[in-house]
């Protein structure tokens, strides 16, 4: 694989993982859990919130790795 492609592929994988985590059977599985509590939030809510936070981190890394979209 060409080196420049790596950040694009990684970001694509992360985006797909986020989508899978938030809809369908995986969301149903994680969303059915109340424990463990995370910072006082039930697991089902913390799950959705963490993926939002994760998307911020992923986008920031992707932006840096691709030199702001120019690479």
């Amino acid at each position: 694989m060409r080196r420049q492609l790596i950040p694009h592929v990684l970001f694509g994988v992360w985006f797909a993982a986020t989508a899978i985590a938030l809809v369908g059977p995986v969301a149903e599985w994680a969303g059915a859990r109340i424990e463990p509590y995370v910072l006082g939030l039930p697991f089902s809510l913390a799950w959705s919130a963490c993926w939002a936070l994760g998307m911020f981190v992923a986008l920031a890394l992707y932006y840096r790795a691709t030199d702001g979209g120019r690479a």
Binding site: F15, T18, A19, L22, V23, G24, P25, A27, E28, A30, G31, A32, R33, I34, Y37, L39, G40, L41, P42, S44, L45, S48, A49, W51, A52, L53, M55, F56, L59, A60, Y63, G68, G69, R70
Partner: protein, 502 residues
């Protein structure tokens, strides 16, 4: 405690500040339609961050989100989920559209798509879809503002009177300052919303239950399934089904980037880098949904229920012991949420009606001055129409929004095809759009006709994409030099992050 002098003065001061900031933006952009509609393509990261964040998070977020978590439990997590996924495509679509905007002078989504396919009718179709979605959406904002003013003044103003006052202010700064009025006030309103949501979301559970975890533990012990996805389908009703929950997230995510008032902000950014950084930072704004959901949960075990679910936040504040200053600030924050979406929507709807409808679709030769005048006239017309809708129709805030989202989602294939797919043709796009909207509306009106129990917008999308692919393949168009120029302009990446003019 509502109607106290402190609450009324905080709200009054906030409204006055909005008016001053909004009017102060006047004269900072040129006198051209590009100045009024796209701020001369010169907005920086700070304003872009708030213009997108505060535009997206409307009165719906401030009142509807706690209303959902209060009445439907875990169903409300769908709001967090679609926001996380929905804005990401804009990272790619936005800068590409912006480059085309600079090259060809576009300030709206419809112009871009219609020019790419050399088919003005597409722009007309997009105006129709936008109006269909925007009017109920704007009505929601107006209605929300009315509730807030009425609550803040202890019923001294009826909702219809309160809404009239607030939206007279919005009208004033949108008319005087165009997109900069929207952008500057959204910055102020965005800061307000963020700070207040977090303060209230942490304060109320501590005040009522002694902490977040004790609150959630009590909810679980009394209503074991309430916090488990997918939550309830309706207030006090049966559980939502997972297929519906998931498809609602998908429809809302796909439609997110192509909402015309949001998409056209691509044409306002100073540079591609500013646009991308706006998308990168957006989830930090999005997370403020979490404290708002918490507030709704805080109301679940509260003894006296509010009249309507989406009044849970003001209801709690009015009935628990909080300092009057906090109540006043909350009211101002909720108004900020309503106004920051309402202003962007009415500005966008008027702009695209003139640019896409009149100039592009109908081919009328309207000069720049007349365009600006017409946009302003339409701002007033649409505002009045939405106002009538707000106080004439009955459905709750979020149900209306779900219906409005579907048709807008049908724009997504057209936009993606215009920006990326060389083999797509105008006939394919127009056919797909028409079919998608028809299928969508049919299934919204007759949910029992759906072949599978998923969101009507997703079914429309399936029909839309199929028609687009099929028609484009059956009636291909030879490649023309204009197409080459279009895609060259779309792909060109400036070497440095410098502002460009058109």
């Amino acid at each position: 405690m509502s109607g106290s002098p402190v609450v009324v003065s905080v709200v009054g001061a906030y409204l006055a500040l909005c008016l001053i900031v909004g009017i102060a933006a006047k004269g900072k952009s040129s006198d051209s339609p590009t100045g009024y509609v796209a701020g001369d393509r010169n907005l920086n990261l700070l304003v872009m961050y708030f213009i997108t964040g505060a535009t997206i998070f409307s009165g719906f977020a401030f009142l509807g989100a706690p209303g959902w978590s209060y009445s439907k439990g875990a169903a409300s997590f769908y709001i967090l989920a679609f926001g996380t996924l929905g804005f990401v495509p804009f990272y790619f679509l936005g800068p590409r559209a912006a480059r085309l905007g600079r090259a060809f002078g576009f300030v709206t989504q419809g112009e871009l798509v219609a020019t790419r396919f050399r088919m003005p009718a597409i722009a007309g179709c997009m105006v129709f879809v936008s109006a269909l979605a925007f009017l109920p959406y704007l009505a929601l904002q107006i209605k929300g503002a009315g509730y807030v003013v009425s609550a803040a003044t202890g019923g001294w103003f009826a909702p219809w009177q309160g809404a009239a006052i607030v939206y007279a202010i919005v009208l004033t700064y949108v008319l005087s300052s165009g997109v900069l009025g929207v952008g500057w006030t959204n910055t102020l309103q965005g800061i307000f919303m963020l700070v207040l949501a977090w303060v209230l979301g942490l304060y109320i559970p501590f005040e009522l239950y002694g902490g977040l975890r004790p609150m959630f533990e009590r909810i679980v012990s009394e209503r074991p399934d309430f916090l488990r996805v997918p939550g309830l389908a309706a207030e006090g009703g049966a559980r939502w089904n997972m297929l519906d929950y998931s498809s609602a997230i998908l429809v809302s995510s796909i439609g997110f980037s192509v909402w015309p008032h949001l998409f056209m902000k691509a044409f306002t950014a100073k540079s591609d880098g500013v646009l991308r950084r706006t998308v990168v930072l957006y989830p930090t704004f999005q997370l403020f949904i979490v404290p708002l959901l918490i507030v709704g949960f805080a109301g679940v075990l509260f003894a006296a229920p509010p009249e309507a679910a989406d009044q849970i936040l003001p209801h709690l504040l009015m009935n628990i012991d909080v300092p009057e200053l906090v109540v006043g600030l909350f009211c101002a924050g909720a108004l900020a949420a309503s106004m920051s979406s309402g202003d962007a929507i009415v500005h966008a709807l008027a702009s695209i009606t003139v640019r896409d409808g009149l100039v592009t679709a109908l081919g009328r030769d309207v000069g720049p001055r007349a365009q600006r005048l017409l946009i302003r006239v339409l701002v007033v017309v649409f505002m009045l129409a939405a106002y009538a809708l707000a106080f004439g129709a009955g459905a709750t805030l979020v149900d209306l929004l779900l219906v409005a989202y579907g048709p807008v989602t049908q724009l997504a294939p057209a936009v993606v095809a215009a920006l990326y797919v060389r083999r797509a043709t105008g006939a394919g796009v127009l056919g797909g759009l028409t079919l998608g909207i028809a299928v969508n509306i049919a299934f919204v009106l007759q949910p029992d006709w759906r072949p599978v129990p998923i969101h009507a917008g997703l079914l429309g999308l399936a029909a839309n994409v199929s028609a687009l692919v099929l028609l484009s393949a059956l009636f291909p168009k030879p490649n023309r030099p204009e197409d080459d120029a279009f895609f060259r302009a779309a792909a060109e990446t400036p070497a440095r992050d410098f502002p460009t003019t058109d």
